[in-house]
Symmetry: C2
Subunit: 107 residues, 2 copies
DNA sequence: GAAATCGTCAACCAGTTGGTTGAATAACGA
DNA sequence: TCGTTATTCAACCAACTGGTTGACGATTTC
């Protein structure tokens, strides 16, 4: 449990990885397509995807020579509860969420 | 904004720092008292507190020779919205929250 | 079969993190 | 004034992170 929180929060602390998750909100993507908008090697993106996978935030499935990445938002549930418990914030405002996302997408 | 998310998520990725925040839920504390339950030098705790302060998750105020630490849960609001937006989770169950906390306190 | 595509692996590098110890600073109490 | 308490600072260390490049295995296409 503690380890899961460690992994998820660490995964979310990097802007490249948050941008990847945001892209995957739209649809599942191949590794190469995930990497395309970033000014960074494919190997670097592959490492980020491995870390996201270990944190449970995405899953990867190989079909043919293409590896598909899929968002697994359930991994955020427990960390989200943890944070919400501290703040007792009002229910989430979706406009706020959209605004955050817009600020984080690459290129 | 992106930098704030970086700092908060990175701060939360360490179990010592999460435990400190949990302790501060109860009440404000002096640095020495925060450090007491941990098997770690005071200097190490002082560094953790500095990081939490830079992330905005706590504030520190010196009165006399004692520096008081106070939880600032508002710093979690935006990161919390960010996570909630991904999962569209149901409203927070406080029992879940209590259970998480119990698993994280030191000593 | 040969060539191109998809993705990972291994080795490397610079910078950061989480810890240590010992000295320094600041404020209180006798 | 002197010792004690509260906290940070500076230097150091091992381990981790986020990036690179080049070689490699697997799959598809020609």
């Amino acid at each position: 449990m503690t380890i899961r929180l460690d992994l998820v929060f660490a995964a979310l602390s990097d802007p490249t990885r948050r941008a990847i998750l945001t892209m995957l909100l739209e649809d599942d993507m191949a590794v190469t397509d995930v990497a395309e908008p970033f000014d960074m090697s494919l190997a670097a993106i592959s490492k980020h995807l491995g870390l996201l996978t270990r944190a449970g935030l995405i899953s990867q499935e190989k079909r043919g020579r293409v590896k598909w990445c899929k968002l697994e938002p359930d991994a955020m549930r427990e960390p989200s509860v943890w944070m919400q418990g501290f703040g007792q914030f009002e229910p989430v405002n979706l406009d706020d969420f959209e605004r955050f996302l817009a600020a984080e997408l690459p290129g």
